[in-house]
Symmetry: C2
Subunit: 261 residues, 2 copies
DNA sequence: TCCCAGCCTTGATCTGGATCAATGCAGCCT
DNA sequence: AGGCTGCATTGATCCAGATCAAGGCTGGGA
């Protein structure tokens, strides 16, 4: 299972409970840290705790200065831009990923509020210890760089999706993508409730709902929470997936090709 | 002069012509590379060329795979999301900064098109050599990480600005920011023509123009290209600058505080 | 001097999507 | 049963900002 874009949310209880008992184990099992030496992970683990945070909790507030580097091990988290009483969702974070490493790295205040959507398992590493480790361990630095680069690209894709496509196209492409992603024969299911999908796609629930009605014309339909493509041809004509928008953006190690020096 | 957000565009001819003759010198004079060893810069310089590219040129196209890591030394560049004939401006890049390091680092295709706005002095380093150097040199890796983190935060600020504020507020805050940024006594000037400011603020030129008319009510006005604050109180009541949106985001080295290990 | 190309402004109109407001429809608790 | 809470649909209306369409102003070139 990749951790790119549209994960079904895994029930956290079965995923993490037994295996991720300690920070040390959590670190070792983080795929994009595989290249990092045990010694460094030991150090990090020494300054870390593993917390389970219930849905609805606020992890940090806009303008706070980060005291921990946080790695989301299970569950999910939303990042919101806040202004007075208005909130706008900027990003949804899926495991295994860091929460706003940019703020931690630059020692600047968070630009966003973080709230738990599905019970989160969080690996919290003291910010200073984390920074020190990044400054000491080249492999760790490379891993964080990869993580940060991918987050940047996800942002750009999101911006393109919202600004270059109409609401209807976003919905169509989203469903189509789910459908393509599902194993052949198995019908695709909505991985989230509709309210959250709407937020993901940058529109209100009402607009999402209406749009779902409208795209029936294009051979795309929802029954309960499963996606039905009545007319594949019409669907693909109306909505063309673009890898530069819809493609997953998984965190990969920054490997050097060819001969090593 | 910081390289955060709202630079006046410096005439490239006087800034760079004599000093930045060679890639080697350009690298050494890049502020956020100061911590990188000469040896590494030598290697990079060995795989680099310094180019001067006229306004209007396309540097790379969406979906291309990066062959160079590009550092903008002087001039300016816009990054555009493209879909058919539609373009949407995602970002404007000011020197000294990298152009989409995320694509180079992840070896993925560019998500955006890059076009020169003001004649650009570009340091172009072969992608593989650059990646290799990042993989070899910890200090360089840290520098690139800092650069990438800042770019991420700029994106987030841009998103907040557009989604949390009305067109009128964006214009008001932009002008106010210019005004605050200017040395006391000296009137602030528009650093760009209005068309480009409009794009920067995520609106059409027409809307920008109308909005300029509208905010006269709030004690803010443009005369020619200088910003006049007729009524500071009204202006600050109507438009409150938020450091989490309007603050500059300069590229700084990722220093470790306190004792070194 | 005329002409033309770039900018900017101004007006009229359109519209995608938000907002406000009801209603339906589960599941769940007591 | 009832009543509550949270989600989803559906309809009516609104509005910020885009779009389309004319001008106006400035500077430059022959």
């Amino acid at each position: 299972m990749s951790h790119g874009g549209l994960q079904p949310f895994v029930s956290p209880s079965h995923q993490a409970d037994n295996r991720l008992l300690s920070p040390r184990v959590a670190l070792r099992e983080t795929p994009w840290l595989t290249a990092v030496a045990d010694k460094t992970l030991d150090v990090l683990a020494g300054h870390a705790v593993l917390h389970r945070i219930p849905a609805g909790s606020m992890l940090f507030e806009q303008a706070e200065t980060p005291t921990f580097a946080q790695i989301l091990v299970a569950g999910s988290v939303e990042l919101l831009g806040v202004r007075g009483n208005d909130e706008t969702r900027i990003e949804r974070v899926y495991p295994i990923d860091m929460l706003l490493p940019a703020a931690v790295l630059t020692r600047q205040p968070y630009l966003l509020r973080a709230r738990v959507l599905d019970e989160a398992h969080l690996l919290m590493i003291q910010a200073e210890a984390f920074l020190h480790a990044v400054a000491q361990d080249h492999a760790l630095c490379l891993a964080v760089l990869a993580c940060q680069a991918v987050q940047f690209r996800r942002q750009v894709k999101q911006a393109k999706n919202v600004r270059l496509r109409s609401a209807e196209e976003r919905v169509g492409c989203y469903l189509l993508r789910l459908h393509e992603g599902a194993p052949p024969g198995v019908p695709a299911r909505l991985p989230l409730n509709k309210r959250q999908i709407a937020a993901e796609l940058g529109m209100t629930r009402e607009t999402f709902s209406r749009t779902l009605g409208a795209i029936a014309r294009r051979g795309l339909r929802i029954d309960g929470d499963i996606v039905i493509v009545d007319d594949p041809v019409a669907a693909h004509t109306g909505f063309s997936l673009d890898p530069l928008i819809d493609g997953a953006e998984p965190i990969q190690p920054l490997a050097t090709k060819g001969t090593e020096g």
